[in-house]
């Protein structure tokens, strides 16, 4: 992560307080804050209001590639050196469905992981962090210039932050 910007780091015990804080922040026009939660939380997510993750596209594309690749691989290899076995056709589709299916899953899954890593990296946020956020606290970091610090601290306290500190 790049050099940590300065700003305010608040920690909440109560999820609804954190949500309220998020809503007010957004109302006040602070867009680029970061929320830390120990578990995924719908209420927070709603408050932050992200759109659905684009990871799903990766899954789709990966799966389709796998499927196509599976059929291509099997059929091409069969005809590259045609050999009769058991009086069956050189390139029967039915048995190759199995291969295609497995490759669909394999590629789909791998692509999903790549998608996750890629997007998580792309949307990474710099900011102060506290280990407790992985335990039982909810954290909000609002990057802001020194002149606005006062108001932001006020705002966060008002919504019920247990602890607000300046990260320079």
């Amino acid at each position: 992560m790049s050099a940590q910007p300065s700003g305010i780091l608040a920690s909440f015990r109560f999820v609804d307080a954190a949500a309220e804080a998020i809503r007010t922040l957004k109302a006040e026009g602070y867009g680029d804050f970061t929320v830390y939660t120990p578990v995924p939380n719908v209420e927070i997510a709603r408050a932050v209001g992200h759109r659905v993750s684009p990871v799903r596209r990766w899954t789709l594309i990966g799966g389709l590639t796998g499927c196509a690749g599976g059929f291509a691989l099997t059929l091409w290899m069969s005809f590259d050196w045609p050999m009769i076995v058991g009086g069956k056709p050189i390139g029967p589709i039915i048995p190759y469905v199995v291969i295609a299916f497995e490759l669909t899953i394999l590629f789909g899954a791998s692509a999903t992981i790549l998608g996750l890593l890629f997007h998580a990296w792309k949307t990474r946020q710099a900011g102060a962090y506290d280990g407790r956020f992985a335990d039982d606290q909810i954290g909000i970091f609002v990057p802001c210039a020194s002149d606005r610090r006062g108001t932001v601290q006020e705002l966060l306290r008002a919504s019920g932050a247990e602890e607000v500190r300046v990260e320079a």
């Binding site: 050999m83 009769i84 076995v85 058991g86 009086g87 050189i90």
Partner: protein
């Protein structure tokens, strides 16, 4: 022959070549050790590397004397096949003949002269020393010298006699278990002729065998098998009928249409009773003087005889009518039927043949009679002489009396009191180990010799390759000895080499056959053809003057309440001389399917009475000794009878023979029978020892569970146009319309898979097997081992079912319940080369695939060894290399030096972990295709490719060829109405068509 390799060490050359070609190990990548190529110094005549040379010679594995062609590659004999020009076997060979190579290359051959030292062990000596020693021991010769040989008919026979005469002795003995003493005696009594006739089985339409195993060891099995196929094989609507009379169902009996199991020892009476009926009712066309037999036949009326035989009287009447209905022959003899009254069986048979007018028709006496070989009585005589100490020097060649005579005679002990004993044995057998000096003879394939299997047939033996070891031909040794002796002996022979002696003899033969050409021409021609063959003139015989008062009523019977024991010669090991050939040891017995051991055949009910299960070790007691052998429960034997094969129980004779099974001769009387032979029947009692062993047998289940694998049909049914045998395959009947749909679908699939969908015109290699000709003799099995470098795995692995025989003879029993006749069927099972082969599609790496010419290809070096193909093969004809049989350093190496010299250089030797199987001798197919291509033929003609099994089959049951050629023999055979595919309902579309066995049963 491969002569004139002027002193170059052929042996070394061969081994090296062996590495690069024959003994080639199969590995995934090429071996990185440096291979040496060693050229000839001077190339031997007509030998081109990579091209086989064929030499005609004679098989000496048994007295039949079949002609052979020996295939020689780069100076090594690699395969023995029958000589098509030879009148005896017409190109066919039995398992023992096929295995003769393992005699030549046997690792346990005596490699140089051996002399016994004071401490009793043997030490190598030089030939000069050895010969000097004999000459010294013989001194001036004398009448106290005895020379024992095996059955020799020809020049060597003459030489031994002349040699003995030269050293002033007449003590010559011929020891041959198949002495046929009973038959000779019978013919002396009945026809006043000390000879055995030739039986023309081929032209007989009715064969009655009184316990004769004429397809196994008696007489000339290959010739008789051919003749039998001609007589009994089904051929457009016609076939002969065959009735076998013996207390046990032997391999020969398995081919019978009717098997009669008489009270042991009473079969002679049956013949007599039949003759009685014939004479009584004047059936057929008996000779005028046949009524002179009436007196002899008086007491043999069916009614009383039937009781003693244990069959119904009207059966006898019926047999008499059948017997005289057409050309017929009755046979008697054979070691397996040689009880103390065997001579009266033979007499009765001679009488029967005469009464039925067969003498001169199917029973033929040659004008020139072979020199009568000595009988077992003479052997006992010799034993007495030796004990009496009147024998100074004993020379033994080609015989093993210590193992081959009853233990009761104790021949070994008798030999002990002979001061000097010389053996010319090729192996350290039981007799050789008793001798003081062993002078190893050449193998028959290494020597110059000749043999007269029957009158008019003079067969030559020539060396097909340089001697493997430092051995010498006994003929030469005798000449050298004679030369070292003083006076008469030295003068007796003007020739110095046995070859010259032989050629001299052949000048006489040329004169006798009236050949005008220069001798050299005659000689070369004879060498190429394998000998000179003429039909010999016959003599007419008539009844002896005193035939009326010959006693033929004698019969053998069990003493007390004991069981009858039959000691019979093994079809594979003969009298035991085959026991050191791994191929023969691993060859399943045609009847019991047991390998590598001895067993006692016992009826299941008899076993049940004694609480004996298969494999339980039984102690068999006779008046002369006792034996411990595992039991084999055989439905094809009388409840009051036991049977044990001969041939095992060697105490010497090499790694493959020693310490296997037991020698049944321990149970027999040492005294000669009335007719001067060994009595092979004995009265015994049995005791369950409580021990158990697993018999190394290759059979899973003896019943085919109504699966129609080996199918048969009666002649009557065929005549009425029925071709379906009713077996329980279709438990749930398929409706008509479905049947049609299925057929249509099968047709389409068949069409689609005929060429395996490969483009272009290809042959479709196929095979047909006529079960009405197959006798189960298993010659094909050994031929396949020889051709395809199949390893022998040994008893331990056979117990685990890991034998490798690409072709196996399956034997199934049908019926046999009380009041039901027992039928046995045999079926050679090899890879069926299916069009839609289940094995191919499951192989992940294409190691099993379909070749354009319809073979079910198996690429050994591609095989990874998943063994899926074998699981999916309904015929179970794929064999897996569980051990490294091809690796000389491995404990399971199958070809200990020099045995690996017989490896076929055209076939890869398979490595550990790969699957192997029959591919219709693809190497032969490819060779023929190369030849045809170079000769400018566009395709291989029908009959040009001959598979190893087809080549050797004595009854010509196997036909091979191209199914896409409508005129090929195989196409016509496949179209036969008897044709069927094994497990055809699986739609595997096999390339092998079996023709149903036809049973010539009497109309009920």
């Amino acid at each position: 022959m491969a002569e004139s390799s002027n002193g170059m060490n052929r042996r070394r050359f061969l081994t090296v070549l062996g590495v690069t070609s024959g003994g080639a190990a199969l590995t995934g990548c090429s071996t990185d050790e440096v291979e040496k190529l060693i050229p000839y110094l001077v190339p031997p005549d007509h030998q081109i590397p990579g091209i086989a040379t064929w030499y005609a010679s004679t098989c000496r594995e048994c007295p039949a004397g079949c002609g052979v062609h020996v295939r020689v590659r780069e100076g090594r004999a690699v395969k023995v096949e029958g000589n098509p020009d030879h009148p005896v076997n017409a190109g066919r060979l039995c398992a023992r003949g096929q295995a003769s190579l393992q005699g030549l290359y046997n690792p346990d051959r005596v490699r140089q002269p051996m002399l016994r030292t004071r401490d009793g062990s043997f030490e190598p000596v030089s030939w000069d020393e050895a010969i000097g020693r004999i000459a010294a021991e013989l001194g001036g010769g004398g009448s106290d010298i005895r020379f024992v040989t095996g059955y020799e008919a020809g020049t060597f026979d003459r030489m031994v006699d002349e040699w003995l005469r030269a050293i002033g002795s007449s003590g010559r003995l011929v020891v041959e278990p198949q002495g046929r003493e009973a038959e000779r005696l019978a013919n002396r009594r009945v026809f006043g002729l000390d000879a055995v006739p030739r039986y023309d089985i081929g032209s007989a339409r009715y064969v009655l065998s009184l316990g004769v195993d004429f397809l196994e060891t008696w007489g000339s099995p290959v010739q008789q098998a051919r003749a039998f196929a001609a007589s009994h094989g089904y051929h457009d609507g016609h076939m002969g009928r065959y009735v076998h009379v013996e207390p046990r169902l032997s391999m020969t009996a398995m081919s019978a249409d009717e098997w009669i199991a008489p009270t042991p020892g009473s079969e002679g009476l049956l013949a007599l009773a039949i003759a009685h009926v014939i004479v009584r009712d004047g059936l057929g066309s008996p000779p005028a003087d046949a009524r002179r037999l009436a007196g002899l036949l008086r007491d043999a009326d069916p009614a009383s005889a039937a009781v003693r035989i244990g069959i119904a009287a009207d059966t006898i009447e019926r047999l008499a009518r059948e017997f005289t209905a057409g050309p017929s022959v009755a046979l008697a003899g054979g070691l397996g039927a040689q009880h103390d009254a065997a001579h009266s069986t033979a007499i009765a048979t001679a009488v029967l043949n005469y009464a039925a007018g067969n003498v001169g028709q199917t029973v033929l006496f040659d004008r020139e009679l072979p020199r009568p070989s000595s009988s077992y009585a003479d052997v006992t005589g010799l034993a007495d002489e030796m004990r009496a100490g009147t024998v100074r020097v004993l020379l033994i060649h080609g015989a093993n009396p210590v193992h081959g005579t009853p233990a009761a005679l104790d021949f070994a002990a008798a030999m002990g009191s002979v001061p000097f004993k010389v053996s010319f044995a090729r192996f350290m057998d039981e007799t050789a180990t008793e001798c003081d000096l062993v002078l190893p003879d050449h193998d028959p394939l290494e020597q110059w010799n000749d043999f007269v299997p029957r009158a008019g047939v003079h067969a030559l033996q020539q060396p097909v390759m340089q001697p493997v070891f430092d051995t010498r031909q006994t003929g030469d040794v005798l000449l050298q000895v004679a030369r070292q002796m003083d006076g008469a002996a030295a003068a007796a022979f003007e020739v110095t080499a046995y070859k010259d002696f032989l050629r001299q003899g052949w000048r006489d033969i040329q004169r006798r056959v009236g050949d005008r050409r220069p001798f050299e021409q005659f000689w070369m021609d004879a060498l190429q053809r394998g000998g000179v063959f003429r039909d010999s003139p016959l003599r007419s015989v008539s009844l002896a003057a005193d035939v009326a008062n010959v006693d033929a009523m004698a019969s053998w019977s069990v003493a007390g309440d004991g069981l009858a024991l039959i000691a019979y010669p093994s079809p594979a090991l003969y009298d035991g001389r085959g026991a050191n050939r791994p191929w023969l040891q691993e060859l399943p017995d045609p009847v019991t399917k047991v390998t590598w051991s001895t067993w006692v055949e016992m009826h299941p009910e008899t076993a049940a009475e004694h609480g004996i299960a298969e494999g339980d070790v039984v102690e068999v007691h006779s008046a002369y000794g006792s034996l411990r052998v595992p039991a084999y429960l055989h439905p094809g034997i009388r409840r009051d009878t036991l049977a044990i094969p001969m041939g095992q129980g060697h105490t010497a004779f090499g790694r493959y023979a020693e310490g296997r099974g037991a020698n049944v001769l321990a149970l027999l009387s040492g005294d000669a029978t009335a007719f001067g032979g060994i009595g092979t029947y004995a009265s015994v009692t049995i005791r369950h020892t409580g021990e158990h062993v697993f018999l190394p047998k290759t059979e899973g289940k003896p019943r085919q569970m109504e699966r129609g694998i080996a199918q048969a049909i009666t002649l009557a049914e065929l005549e009425h146009g029925e071709h379906e045998e009713h077996h329980g395959m279709h438990a749930a009947p398929v409706p008509e319309h479905i049947e049609d749909v299925l057929d249509q679908w099968q047709e389409n699939q068949d069409e689609a898979t005929r060429y395996g969908d490969y483009e272009g015109e290809h042959p479709r290699w196929a095979m047909s097997v006529d079960l009405s000709r197959c006798t189960g003799c298993s010659a094909c099995v050994t031929a396949c081992y020889a051709e395809n470098n199949i390893p022998t795995v040994g008893p331990e692995q056979v117990r685990r079912g890991r034998e490798m025989s690409w072709i196996r003879i399956e034997r199934y029993f049908e019926g046999g319940e009380p009041e039901e006749s027992l039928e046995s069927r045999v079926l050679p099972m090899m890879c069926q080369q299916c069009s839609s082969a289940p094995c191919e599609s499951v192989c992940p790496v294409y190691a099993a695939y379909h070749t354009p010419d319809g073979l079910n290809g198996q690429v050994y070096n591609r095989c990874v060894g998943t063994r899926y193909c074998s699981n999916n093969c309904p015929y179970k004809v794929r064999y897996f290399n569980y051990f490294d049989h091809q690796h000389s350093a491995d404990p399971s190496f199958a070809w200990p030096e020099p045995l690996h010299w017989l490896l076929n250089p055209d076939v890869t030797v398979r490595a550990k972990g790969v699957m192997e199987k029959c591919t219709f001798c693809v190497q032969r197919i490819r060779d023929e295709q190369h030849r045809a291509k170079l000769a400018g033929q566009d395709r291989v003609a029908d009959g040009e490719v001959v598979t190893a099994c087809q080549q050797t089959c004595p009854s010509e049951a196997i036909v091979f060829g191209d199914l896409n050629d409508p005129n090929s023999r195989v196409s016509r055979a496949a179209a036969d109405s008897r044709g069927y595919h094994v497990l055809g309902d699986l739609n595997t579309r096999p390339a092998v068509t079996y023709l149903k066995r036809v049973r010539n049963l009497v109309e009920a």
